[in-house]
């Protein structure tokens, strides 16, 4: 697996560490690299790529690695964007919606509860829908926005992967920290192989850090990726 490092990424090493704990072979991918050979999943990690000057993720999408990433995603390769990575994937047109400033216009660092909404995206494969996961958020711009008609289409297409909920799994405006429309914390593309979420699973992958729920998301990415690999092998064998 590859974890992309942009100038200003600051969760790349955490993500690499957590993926390794989950049993993945992970390595960092420099943003000027165009060669992604040997990688069968990509994670665009969090941080402040290029300082988030201009607009979150707006400059990073022009990095050389992004054209290779777009091609990789276009071939069905699994891509997970976390926090700033989610914003970059939105800017690159891989994921719907835009991020506005948090509702109370302040950076928010706290634990949240997420409800898994579908079990077949690259970051939720095999997780029973309705399962509630606890992990931290840390962002200033995580207020998910789409015009209403498009939101309806997004919901109808089943592209909402995670929602902010209470610990008991119920929706509650108080449990939606940043004011995201429909409490959306994570979405996927139409094919489900590209997912973005604002919370940080890599910071909740060890008991000592207070939660291991983040592993569930990272392990889903691993199993989704393994499934693709087996699929490819089977097709290869059939030929």
């Amino acid at each position: 697996m590859g974890v992309v490092t942009f100038p200003g990424s600051n969760c790349d090493r955490d993500t690499e560490h957590a993926l390794t704990l989950c049993g993945a072979r992970a390595r960092l991918v420099w943003h000027k690299d165009r060669d992604l050979s040997g990688l069968d999943a990509l994670v665009v990690s969090g941080g402040f790529s290029y300082g988030d000057y201009l607009r979150t993720g707006a400059i990073a999408r022009f990095s050389p690695v992004m054209s290779a990433l777009l091609e990789f995603a276009g071939r069905g390769g699994p891509v997970l964007g976390i926090c700033n990575g989610f914003q970059i994937l939105q800017e690159a047109g891989l994921l719907p919606g835009a991020m506005l400033r948090n509702r109370r216009v302040k950076f928010l660092s706290q634990d949240v509860h997420l409800r898994v909404e579908r079990a077949d995206s690259c970051a939720s494969a095999g997780i029973p829908p309705g399962r509630v996961l606890r992990m931290p958020i840390a962002h200033g711009d995580g207020n998910f926005y789409l015009p209403e008609p498009e939101l309806d289409r997004l919901e109808a297409a089943g592209q909402v992967v995670f929602r902010y909920v209470r610990a008991d799994g119920q929706l509650d405006p108080e449990a939606n920290p940043n004011g995201s429309l429909r409490a959306i914390a994570g979405v996927c593309n139409g094919a489900g192989n590209v997912v973005g979420l604002m919370p940080h699973p890599e910071r909740a992958a060890e008991a000592i850090l207070g939660s291991e729920d983040g592993r569930v998301v990272l392990e889903a990415l691993l199993s989704f990726t393994a499934g693709l690999r087996q699929g490819r092998a089977a097709t290869g064998a059939a030929r």
Partner: protein, 737 residues
């Protein structure tokens, strides 16, 4: 020709100028005068405090690097060292709160990674005027946003700290930033310009006109018109600093770097002079090669600029290209701007012309050291009776008032704006006695506490400093950590006033005594003087940052009660210590009486007992007693845990003490612990000669404290929480506007 007016502008006295003349053997030119001005400023030279700072204990088997380098370092096992330091950014933060605080964080981060260490934890100590005082809201909002804005983007978690309020800080807030990083012990880098002929490499951001004379500004008091000093405050770019961090660590790993120092206060002047001074060498700089952001800068401006996110490296001769390659990979400037010489002089050229030529020691070792006159502190308020206006009519009401008081109330509004979890090491974040970060790749963790106490130090500087050291160490012990070392930030008024100088002398003495008794050497720090506005000094405010080692990160102790049925034991002795207490100020607005007496031997016994009891698996939780005494500590133990159901406790205090004292006294050397085996703990305490008493048990949804012969407390935890979170709720909804 240097005029008296020019000297005044440079913050130099006539005597100091005479000294410059004799050191140089001639008149300095304008640029040279600038170099002396910043290097001899209080901020860079410690000229008023140096004599006294020398008395602090700085050694121990665990000390890897003591004072004198960019930061101190202690051994934390597994071949690693923790590099840490605290520094003030008070003056800039008053003038421009967001950038002042942001660049304070940026400066301390650079001090850490200059040593080759990767920063893993930031903390801070903030002091403001009362929330309803004019300007406080603006300063608080700006400072907190600045700390978050810089630290969050850089990617170093802000894991703890303190925020306090008192009238003396209204015109002079304190912003002290602490940072800790990790490095392999054998790979610590130092700020030395070694090796004649080695190239001097400038890396990072370009030089602009910002921050010129920041160090001199930070060495003067405020008066009317200080707001106009805004151009002396630097502007921070956390993205640039993050990239600089990665590039520096990568460059250091190439083996091509001989020495490295950040350009902080006094910029290029200080970094070049100090690097040459430590190595006993000289340095030559060609200003034409310095990357510049603006056209037409004079040599004076280039040498004194405090533009942020810049570093000075000395590379091994012939390996410049290895260094440049790394920085270019990160799209950063790297320029060879000079070389190391053997003649012990700083030489600055521009267009081939010699602009400055000064002996290195004249700027550093020969800077003036003052033995300023001082008077023994004798604050008459300390002799007043704190009990005069106090009553214990309604202790429940008093507890609710204390929990809602800004000094005690939950600071969630503040730390929710800080990224507390980036780097995925945070075991205990803000709001606890000490912050705890695990050391990735090992079993260990570090406990860190940043503490000060202005009130006590104002009443009795020496006693206050001893108490501050004791409390910071106790906080680390309460997390299960053994204190290894400390860094200090000494915030005072003008040292030219004998009474302020007396406070400084007494604080350093008291601090030294406590550090020696508790076995905690001071490995570095910072002195911030002239914290005065319109002639009114702040409380003398030493702030301690103590670092301790937890051998098994999975066994970190936390403060909150965990399970119904656990016994609760109060360790230590309670005496009538209400002088300078939080209760006194909240209830009466008075700051009087003697601060609590501290028996350092008893304090040390308590630390050893708690660490031993924890090792024996006897402790479920531990919480330090401080502001607001036992009542507030019990409430905090109930409030620490956030669940669907509140968890309180029932307590009965020993007879013999009036309720006021039993509940609210701030006697030091005490801790509140919960345990499943109170008998074993009491036995251990008896053998360690630590007073201990089981006072009740965890359970129920109320906090109930019975005081024999006096009124007690019986309140739902939910009501305590409502009081304790009221400030945060008001700040979050903007109701204070």
């Amino acid at each position: 020709m240097i005029t008296a007016e020019a000297l005044g502008r440079h913050g130099l006295t006539a005597e100091e100028y005479e000294r410059i003349l004799s050191l140089l053997g001639r008149e300095p030119n304008e640029t040279e005068l600038g170099l002396f001005s910043v290097m001899w400023s209080e901020h860079c030279s410690y000229k008023s405090s140096r004599k006294h700072l020398r008395t602090l204990p700085t050694e121990g088997p665990q000390v890897v690097e003591g004072p004198g380098e960019n930061a101190g370092a202690v051994d934390v096992g597994d071949g690693l060292a923790a590099v840490f330091k605290i520094e003030s950014h008070n003056h800039p933060s008053f003038i421009e709160p967001y950038q002042g605080a942001a660049t304070g964080v940026g400066g301390i981060l650079r001090d850490i990674f200059t040593m080759g260490a990767r920063p893993i934890a930031s903390l801070n100590s903030l002091r403001f005027g009362p929330l309803d005082a004019p300007g406080t809201r603006r300063l608080l909002e700006g400072v907190v946003a600045g700390i978050g804005g810089y630290g969050n983007a850089f990617g170093c978690p802000t894991v703890g700290g303190e925020v306090a309020f008192a009238p003396c800080y209204t015109g002079n807030p304190l912003v002290n930033a602490f940072c800790l990083g990790l490095v392999e012990r054998e790979r610590i880098f130092r700020g030395r310009a070694e090796g004649e002929g080695n190239p001097v490499v400038y890396v990072g951001a370009k030089t602009g006109r910002d921050g010129i004379h920041g160090a001199t500004m930070a060495s003067a008091e405020f008066g009317e018109g200080s707001e106009e000093k805004r151009p002396t405050v630097q502007v921070g770019d956390p993205f640039m600093e993050k990239v600089l961090l990665e590039a520096c660590l990568e460059a250091l790993a190439t083996g091509a770097v001989v020495g490295i120092q950040d350009m902080g206060a006094a910029g290029l002047t200080c970094s070049s002079a100090e690097m040459a001074s430590r190595a006993g060498s000289g340095i030559e700089i060609d200003l034409d090669r310095v990357p510049q952001r603006e056209a037409g800068m004079t040599p004076y401006e280039i040498m004194l600029s405090e533009s942020q996110e810049r570093m000075l490296l000395v590379a091994a001769r012939g390996r410049e290209a290895d260094v440049e390659r790394v920085f270019h990979k990160w799209d950063l400037d790297a320029a060879v701007i000079g070389r190391v010489t053997a003649d012990g002089r700083v030489r600055v050229r521009r267009g081939g012309r010699l602009e400055a030529d000064v002996p290195v020691p004249a700027l550093t070792d020969e800077a003036p050291v003052y033995d300023r006159p001082w008077t023994e502190p004798a604050n008459p308020s300390a002799r007043e009776d704190p009990l005069r206006d106090l009553s214990a009519d309604d202790p429940g009401r008093a507890l609710l008032d204390l929990l809602a008081a800004p000094n005690v109330a939950s600071k969630r509004w503040v730390y929710r704006q800080y990224d507390t979890t980036v780097l995925a090491n945070t075991v205990v974040g803000p709001g606890s006695d000490a912050a705890v970060v695990r050391i990735k790749g090992t079993r260990r963790a570090l406990a860190i506490s940043v503490d000060g106490n202005g009130r006590y130090c104002w009443l009795d500087p020496r006693a206050g400093a001893r108490l501050a050291v004791a409390e910071a160490c106790r906080n680390v012990v309460a997390a299960g950590g053994r204190p290894l070392g400390a860094t200090n930030c000494l915030n005072f008024g003008s040292p030219e006033k004998p009474e302020v100088m007396g406070q400084l002398v007494a604080v350093i003495e008291g601090m030294g005594e406590a550090c020696r008794a508790l076995g905690v050497p001071i490995t570095g720090g910072n002195v911030s003087l002239y914290n005065e506005t319109d002639g009114k000094p702040i409380y003398p405010t030493p702030v301690l940052g103590v670092v301790g080692l937890i051998e098994d990160a999975t066994r970190t102790l936390t403060s909150g009660f965990l399970e119904p049925g656990d016994g609760v034991v109060l360790l230590g002795e309670t005496r009538a210590d209400l002088g300078g207490s939080e209760l006194l100020e909240v209830a009466t607005g008075r700051v009087v009486g003697p601060p609590p007496a501290l028996d350092l031997a008893a304090e040390k016994r308590l630390h050893e007992l708690v660490l031993r009891a924890h090792e024996a698996g006897l402790l479920r939780s531990a919480h330090d007693l401080s502001d607001g005494g036992l009542a507030v500590a019990l409430a905090e133990c109930c409030l620490a845990r956030e669940g669907d159901v509140e968890l309180g406790g029932r307590f009965r205090l020993p007879a013999g003490l009036p309720g006021l004292v039993a509940l609210f006294s701030e006697s030091p050397s005490r801790m509140l612990v919960s345990t499943r085996d109170a008998a074993a703990l009491l036995d251990l305490a008896a053998r360690a000669s630590v007073p201990a008493r089981e006072i009740g048990a965890v359970g129920g949804e109320r906090l109930s404290v019975e005081v024999p012969g006096d009124r007690g407390i019986d309140l739902p935890v939910a009501e305590l929480r409502c009081a304790w979170t009221s400030l945060t709720r008001r700040l979050e909804s903007g109701l204070l506007d």
